[in-house]
Amino acid sequence: MKRILIVDDKATSRELLHAVLAKQGYAISEAANGQEALEKVRAEGPDLVLLDLQMPIRNGYEVLGELRKDAAYAMLPVIALTASAMQGDREKALAAGFTGYLAKPVALSHLREEIQRLLDPGNAVKAGGTF
């Protein structure tokens, strides 16, 4: 069972993502800030991290920077998840080393598709009819 770490300071957002992804058959754990995220990545070794960008203590960019410094996590799929959908945000995130980028609010089908693409590339779901 693939393991996903959900990192978001908003509990309701963690619960939503948890509910959606648990149904897809992933093992989920949660972290509420950047510091906790780094601890959990090291302790649990997830297969993918869904990382909110704006968080207290250590933000998503700082967490990613820490992870990418460590050879063990250089290739770990990390998806940026952010409500800051200004122009250039996606490019900035991808340039910083994120594997994917999702803007809040994210269509559930898009979320599922993106995660499946990264975790199970051979068996990716067909894109949903989202606009």
């Binding site: 509910a19 959606v20 409500a83 606009f131």
Partner: protein, 407 residues
Amino acid sequence: MTAGNPNLNVQAAAARQEGSFESRFRKLLEAAPDAILEVNPQGQITLLNEAAEKIFGYSRGELLGLNVENLVPAAMRGGHSQHRASYAGHAKTRPMGTGLELQGQRKDGSLFPVEISLSPNWIEGSLHVIASVRDITERKLVEDRIRVLREQYTAELTAKNEQLEARNLEVEQANRLKNEFLASMSHELRTPLHTIIGFSELLTEQLEGPLNEKQHRFVGHILQDARHLLELINEVLDISKIESGRLELKRETFDFSHCLEEVLAGIRQQAASKNITLENKNTFQNTLCADRLRVKEILYNLLSNAVKFTPENGNVWIESADDGKFLDVSVCDTGIGIPEAEQSLIFDKFYQAGDSRKAAREGTGLGLSITKHLVELHGGYISVTSRSGHGSRFTVSFPLAHTPDIS
């Protein structure tokens, strides 16, 4: 011979009447507005004209024989005889004291600015000097006035420039604050919408258990309106980006008919709920070099407007034409149409459909304004033809050969 020329006769008569040549020459000098003085080697005034009396305030009698130094300000008198001696060394006609502010002194002791020109006049081997003295009081006054005005003007200009610079800084700062505010507002609004939309979507999927018909419908309403709210937020952000010139296109080459199909898929449900026939009559099967997401936004805005303003059981269709230079895409409907008087206004910001179309009135009133901006950013244009009660046709033209943006 003289009798043969009446003019010469007149002149000759005048000469006889008015006196000798010398007398006429004297009159010529007297008529000069400048003071003209002759000074002998001892510095005494030996000849003068009438202007000299007027300018210096002496009578002719007083001036004749007077040492010329009396016409020089007391403070300058010491050096004057020396100057005269040095002039004798290389005497020729020239202005005196070039570059200096020269002054004369009247009999009453008052001083006034002068310009002086000197000429040598050798009489029996001794140097007499002819001085032509011009009172430049008036000119100085004018020059001073001009200088004061110029200084005033320069000072005002400098102050204005400083004000403008300060204002520019303020505008820049206000603009930066506005952008920061927009970015943070966008973030703060999207964060709760993320969970509202996400949980409603999750509920409609019924993965957590079945909903009864009413519950399903209610959650559907929440989802639909939450998505509408998201659209409004995006529109407000778009228009502010467009206005501050920060909206940049990300051009790519893509298949236009695919892109159109995606947009139609997103609009079918809206059309179906009003039993509107949605037809795709596009014939353009080529690629377009444009910002794919923005082209979708343009088409979506036009199609969703067409559905919104078309009554139940109506028709909405999309057709295309290309002449090799432009791709014209028309979104047509059998809707309520736009009165002619309103047709030039509908692309304005915040313009809302008039009373006749109040039923369909919702949204920010930014949709068509944004659409027009997006089309124009692509180097294209948008137009409308419509008849009230009979429907509308919106046509957008995209250039087919993209020339790189010049910015």
